[in-house]
Amino acid sequence: MIKKCLYIAAGKLKHFLTDNPFVFVMFFLGSAACSLMFLYFWGNLQYTVSTSQAVSYTATLRSPAQTDNGTLFAIAETYDVRMDAIYALSDETDAALLCTNRPENFSVWGCEWTDLDEAGTVIVSDISLLPDEFARKLRTVGRTSSRYCFVSQNTVSSLGLPATEIRLTLPHTISSAKQTEFLQTFAQNTSHAYLLTETTRTMPVGELLGVVLPMLAVYLLCMFAMLYILVYVLEGMAYELSVYGLLGASNAKLVLIPAIVQSVLLAAANGGAVLLHVLLYDVLFSRINLYEFAYSPAMYLQASVLMLALSFAVMFIYLRFRIGNYAVVNFRRNLQ
């Protein structure tokens, strides 16, 4: 019986595509544009969520220990971890040095970060004063509006200071196995002198929904405008379907036949959009993204499943609403 439904649906599909190609070209273009918009939303949202929820730890010095900063930074680099080591200089003031392997996250004036390569140099803070003891030892090469004074690993090593606090931000792509491995390596190399506390920020559900729900609403609104074209498909089949109903076809099958036709059209438009996105990603779509990132196959799959699920849901609700339970009623409605 399913085979018969498929046969009828295929015949109808062919008929519609040849009978009014203009409307179907418009439908494909419009649905593909909706899918491309959703892919754009989805990709940027996924990236924003994953980066804003990057796993981070704060290591606080709990027992005096002589740790080799160079080794710790080398470990961090191996795992692509951002490491900001803070060296408190005074108990009375909040003066502190900061050494980082991601200098691009900080702004400095009157110098380049490479100016710090020479041991004994410092970029002084405009906000907090360097204690005299250190001001005498270090040569100022630039300024920053940060509350920390910036130094290089060479300078820290020459001063022989232990980091009082280390902030670690792990890449969002890191696996849980690699994460565990990194934390163990870090703990071993610091002789367990630091207390590691996870400080990962998770995006609150409300905040996430505040982004996702409008996104879905915009997509549904746009898709509804395009799905309206499928009314044409149903109207073209309505009389024939009502005759099938009179001849004994079940209500489920009456819904199934137009659903197959419309699903094929939707899936084709969606597939075409994904293909277009993949092919034109480097030349077009990467340039309109808010951030620089690559779409993974999983992202395409998630977006496609979500788009098709939403479209199918709207389509089935409409078909179920349009094709009533009584064959005679359906037939009379379509005779008018």
């Binding site: 409307v23 418009m26 419009g30 009157g110 405009d126």
Partner: protein, 379 residues
Amino acid sequence: MKTLYLSFSVLRRNWLAFLIVCAVMTVALTLLVSAVAEYRHITAARDALQAEVLTEATFFALPMDSEGYSYLPQEILASPACKTVVTLASGGLAKDSGGEYYNTTVFSHAAVQAIALPMQSGRYLDPHADAPEAVISDAYRGNLSLGDTLVLKDGTAVTLVGFVRGEMPLPDFNSWGTDMSADRLFEANNDNVLVFLPDRMIGTPRPVAAVIPREDATEKERLALSEFLASLGRTVSFAGFMERTELTIDAALREKLPLPLFLLVIATLAMISVAALAIERSMREQSRYFLLGCSKRRSMGILSLAVSAVFSLPIAVNLVLLYAFPDFLRFDTDAYMLGNEILLPLLLYWGACLLLTFALTYLLYGKYSPLAFYRKNLT
């Protein structure tokens, strides 16, 4: 009247689809108008800087001092390699003949040459003028008119020679941000009067400046000037400054444009499709009108009128917003420039939509002879 009624009946039969598409198109156009206004704002500051004057310049910003203010050191001008400094200064309050007060910003001779603002009426400041003169943003002209005299706090009389176009952001040079770019040197909705005082500045120069070296300065002198500036604050070459400006513009475009463009493309395609569908659905009805003696032109007119009305509504809503409620298009930002320039693309889009409507009606309908039409739709 009959045509109007019949057109309305075409809309009524497809009201849900038309309503949704109309809503999407209205939102898309509103977002797009707002995005274009923001784009005009961030690019206006870049376009005002005169590249030929500033090519060799180094942009310089002093860090904020402990009290939150800082002023340009006079030693910069004394440097042997320094030709001139493009900067501004506060001129205090100025009073017009009606007793109204205005904030003033004084332009140096170099600033007038390096920054050219688009004028609505009158002319821009003349760097060779012998007498003090002033311009003000047209959006804040109040009761002022060309030729009016303003009196500065020291009694200097200044003649108003022009009105800067609309909401054009005006040079501010008060930002000590760490990421210098053109849009940060200009301030939106600035009600300042820009004053040019030949050969002198009032007040202390602002903490941001473009330092232009002498053409005949040696490499050693230029290097010494660069090092001196770098020792005082943050510096960036004109090329670097413009590169950052382009990055800022690019980031703003990425943030603002994709959504309205996507929506507009979808709404346009949906509108065309729904219009085509509405025309298809009214074929039987139209063929009956044919039988009753309705002309083909009139029949096409009924459909075109219905569809073009739906296309026109979002444009009309946005025109009303643009002129009657411009603040609605701000979307919580002062950094935008509306103005008549936005009208042209809107009207072009509208014209294209109308053209499309008539083409669509003709394509789906007009190509048939009355006889072919009866046979196609009534059999």
